[in-house]
């Protein structure tokens, strides 16, 4: 070794402020840095929709109308949260809509047929939902197929199983009424009650929605797990190379969607006492749309938990606003489509402007 010629480059780096590789970038203006936050675009959009309907439909200004809007938003919003986290993690779940019904059917039929306390059904439904989520995630990481295909498969399977098993068990497309069974009152209090604030009845799902959103935000921005979610969605191979447990992160994200499906399913069951087995189809796209409107990047790696809250609020606002304004509700979906495209274009523009060097 001693005979080696000295290599040409030996200079240690110069930590000086000059050209030592460090580019003293000009700090970007505050407005631009704010716009780079994923939830800012949708916040402005939600405010615009709110103001629009406050003007167009005077009855929206009443507290009870606003409570209805928030309730409508929360039923989408609770599910949009895990769907958004999953999307930030780079995947999506087409089975999320029918999985809600699967969960509700499981709890309802199990309790009714075995004549046990509804809590037994609720807990079994939780296990089933978490299992479906974990299975989706496991199949994804094992097969390395796109999540579109894997969850399209689960979506079709669940849709068929929901109908077939319900008909087999009850002889009907809907489940039997469970409202007189043991534990129904308690479960309803947890999943589907209302409470009064200033003379306005507010559904408890609104509270759960905001609690879950706060929790998701904290996890996403302040914990290791949140860091991993961004990383597996942003660049899965880089994440794996620096030691992020990619498989664990993906499977738990799908399991979280299972949890959301369970919660939403329980809300439906204890609100309406029975479940229609053919429902839920198409809802998965609503959740995905709420997440995308909320600033989550469909390809993963970027987004927030607060964004989808405003995204779901826009849905609820438009849905109810059209009714309050006395318009033909058939226009709802067309309105949504325009909103979705608008939100995507605004997000694209915002991101380009804000991350430009």
């Amino acid at each position: 070794m001693s005979q080696q010629a000295a290599p040409a480059v030996t200079a240690p780096p110069d930590p000086g402020p000059g050209e030592g590789g460090g580019r003293r970038g000009v700090r970007r203006p505050l407005a631009l840095r704010l716009l780079a936050r994923p939830e800012v675009g949708v916040l402005l959009g939600a405010a615009a929709v709110l103001v629009f309907f406050l003007i167009a439909a005077p009855s929206v200004r009443q507290g009870s109308s606003m409570a209805t809007v928030l309730y409508q938003s929360s039923t989408i919003g609770i599910m949009a949260l895990p769907v958004a986290l999953l999307m930030i993690g780079g995947e999506f779940d087409l089975s999320a809509g029918v999985a809600v019904i699967t969960s509700a059917l499981t709890a309802s039929m199990l309790s009714y047929q075995l004549t046990v306390n509804v809590w037994t059904g609720v807990l079994v439904a939780l296990l089933v939902s978490l299992g479906i989520g974990a299975l989706n995630g496991w199949m994804l990481v094992r097969t390395r197929l796109p999540s579109f295909l894997v969850t399209l498969g689960t979506f079709l399977i669940l849709q068929g199983v929901n109908l077939a098993v319900t008909k087999q068990v009850t002889g009907n497309v809907a489940t039997d009424d469970i409202s007189d069974m043991d534990g129904f009152g308690q479960a309803k209090a947890l999943f589907a009650s209302s409470f009064g604030i200033g003379g306005v009845q507010v559904k408890i799902t609104v509270v759960w929605w905001l609690v879950f959103a706060a929790l998701a935000t904290w996890v996403l921005l302040r914990t290791k797990y949140g860091n991993w979610v961004f990383a597996v969605g942003g660049n899965q191979e880089s994440a794996r190379a620096v030691g992020v447990p990619v498989t664990f992160t993906k499977i738990t994200l799908f399991t979280l969607v299972g949890f959301g499906a369970w919660f939403t399913g329980m809300h439906q069951l204890f609100s309406f006492n029975t479940v229609q087995s053919g429902e839920g189809v198409g809802q998965e796209l609503i959740y995905i749309a709420a997440a995308v409107i909320g600033g989550c990047l469909l390809t993963g790696g970027h987004g927030s938990a607060i964004g989808p809250v405003f995204g779901a609020f826009m849905f609820g606002m438009v849905n109810q606003g059209i009714v309050y304004a006395g318009w033909n509700p058939d226009w709802f979906k067309a309105f949504l489509g325009v909103m979705l495209l608008g939100a995507v274009l605004i997000n694209l523009w915002v991101r380009r402007t804000a991350t430009r060097r």
Partner: protein
Amino acid sequence: MTTDKTGTHGAVLADTGNEQDRPLVELRGAGKSYGTVRALHGVDLTVRPGRVTCVLGDNGAGKSTLIKIISGLHRHTEGEFLVDGEPVRFAGPREALDRGIAAVYQDLATVPLMPVWRNFFLGSELTKGRWPLRRLDIARMKRTADEELRAMGIVLDDLEQPVGTLSGGQRQCVAIARAVHFGARVLILDEPTAALGVKQSGVVLKYIAAARERGLGVIFITHNPHHAYMVGDHFSVLRLGTLELSADRGEVSLTELTDHMAGGAELAALKHELAQVGGVDVAALPEADDLSAPVAAPSEGKS
């Protein structure tokens, strides 16, 4: 180089190695097959502290397979792989990291949409508090990342900016600084200069030299012999999945290295074909006889 018992070239140099010079990582006749495809075979490679080992080769020569074995992404299917003299089989990159082997990939170095400080600590986040309130220690991570980057000569005003907004050279440097901070003893750099301009490449080469000064063993993978010759102590040229050349700096000149890299004998044959086509000036191209590098092929031994 006597510790390299299966060395592919004659031990022209006298042994000056001592205990401190013990190889950190050593491959002996290592190879890897994907099913029936033999991507790599009979490769010997030694990495020592404070030395830069350059691995050169054309596309498809087996460079990526080689680093994937060393960094724990793939398992070798033949030969031996030793770390600190012990044979190892890594189950994943995490195990390689635990043994102090860190890889910095050209396109995998960072997650572009994540802030600099999150990228710096990705996979090894600092936390505070107890579960379930265990949370990221953001202030400490930002401070540490800033200190480490400054120590490598990278000064950033805003650690919140996404890594994707940095230049290619800076991104590589962030990844190198990260690997050094997390106690890497062996740094594998996969084509760190491939996508960079001249100036940015120079920045990266400086950090390679800096890493060597800090006593790290560096494996520098490149297909640019000029960059390799700037910082390298030992050169291994891969060709069709095996070693075509393995030589210390004193045994090979830049011209010879370039010729080997460019395909050596095949290039000379191509020259004759081009001469027959006509209209191509081939006078300046080397003849096969001109390639008098010390080592021709693994089986040839001394030149």
